[in-house]
Subunit: 326 residues, 2 copies
Amino acid sequence: MTSTLALNLDRIRAAHERVRAYIHRTPVLTSSRFDDASGAKLFFKCENFQKIGAFKARGATNAVFVLDDASAKRGAVTHSSGNHGTALARAAKLRKIPAHIVMPKNSAKVKVRAVEGYGANIVFSEATQEAREAACASLMAQTGATLIHPFENEDVMAGQGTAAIELLEDADVDLVMCPIGGGGLLCGTAVAAKSMQPKIKVIAVEPENADDAAKSFRAGKRIVTKKNFTIADGLRTNVGERNFPIIQRYVDDVVTVSEDAIVSAMRRIWETMKIVIEPSAAVPYAVILEDKIDIVGKRVGIILTGGNVDLDALPWLRHESEISCA
Amino acid sequence: MTSTLALNLDRIRAAHERVRAYIHRTPVLTSSRFDDASGAKLFFKCENFQKIGAFKARGATNAVFVLDDASAKRGAVTHSSGNHGTALARAAKLRKIPAHIVMPKNSAKVKVRAVEGYGANIVFSEATQEAREAACASLMAQTGATLIHPFENEDVMAGQGTAAIELLEDADVDLVMCPIGGGGLLCGTAVAAKSMQPKIKVIAVEPENADDAAKSFRAGKRIVTKKNFTIADGLRTNVGERNFPIIQRYVDDVVTVSEDAIVSAMRRIWETMKIVIEPSAAVPYAVILEDKIDIVGKRVGIILTGGNVDLDALPWLRHESEISCA
């Protein structure tokens, strides 16, 4: 099993070779307006333009294509109501193997349709973690399919880390900022960046309302928290058990941002850069708006993680519609 | 006066050399999803990523930098409530000359702030065409500034045509689609495309609710129409007197699209391509949604004209908020 090997740069580079033909090399965009406002030089790695609209295409594709033929034939299984499910369904279709995606009954229809569009078998479960894991276990027992966890899987982490390789090939940076949910992207990013350029600082960012990673990082041990609501729906997860030690070793700091700053950051990126990003992707730029770290004069890489957002429910319109309809 | 010379490819190439240092070479994006849906290969020239958020930066910059030093010192003047005013203010600032922008009293505050941000002198007038032209004439008499009309100016047209040069350098296309309002972009695009590749078809597109160019093209003479409301605010103008003969000579057809198709096209481009475009920019893709021309098997260039949109008033949310607040 490759998934027991440690995460390192060789493994991320191998992942890059493996997935290159199936993903976009996304552009790195800059904004003179944002540079003027921040006093830094910002490089945005646009994974919102990635296949399926998020970086998750990288990790899922690597994890599916690294399977040996016998395992692959039995298929892949995961539980996800979000981008990882779609990404795994797509990767399985590309390899022409079965995919089983466990989704909560209350999943958004648009997400169900996206997974269906790639021909995956959808199994609906109750929304609790226990119910989802039980459904996965049952599918694995029935089919022999391999579990591809959204983030507690080194092949997934290695795949996510390929975005950082491309970012560092395209931009010479002092600092990389990356959101943290379960920690798959952060682990891949931190290992890639620190291994390629040990002097690069890696800063993880999460919402104040989902600050388990910040608390864990300060405490030196993994702390699971109950979460308050955060608009950054991709970051509501607790950091993974296999991810936390990697974060302790490779990440320089974990900082948190307010919900208001996330919404402002999202809106400013849409208005100024003319690109659509999802709330979770706005979290690193929120750090700059809240002036949480010193970036003046620095070259800062920011991973814009995805662009899958409900255009009928934009966060800056919620408050207004509450007022106008009250 | 250079502005009396005919519009031709040499002039557009000269404009390109002149403005190159002051504008972005915008990317040409593709979408495998849109290609699959349309049966064509689509190339989107992303002028929403241009300086000031629209192609207008090209024409205004060319028209300002082509002025001789004595004229330039006296400044530039125009009337515009939209992107051309911002573009002219920016170009004048770059050349360090005065700019006077006549804006209707009811202009959106965000547009006023954008012009102010470039240090231009704003003169407010009544919203009628007569009042705006009188205010321009008065400013010209007072200051000796040169009028730089938004579209009835060959240097502006030549500047706008530089987007087509870049598009054709980056993509080999059979057909180019371009929105038509006053006709500045269309004239530059058509002359550039037909001169570079005579076999390329050039199709102009306008809203059914502002179809003066289509009517004029069929009648063989310029017809000024009263407009119904169109969401495509950049295309509410009648085609210019100096633009129409160029359109007759270089454009293959003018087609119209419904308001519903414009809104759908705008939304699909946001959702699928993850980019922010303004309603006017969605008009060519609306042609594809309404199946108005045969593009199957063809390579189609589309100019996405701009991305300046009010994020508090998205067209697909209007109807819904009317219902929910009724």
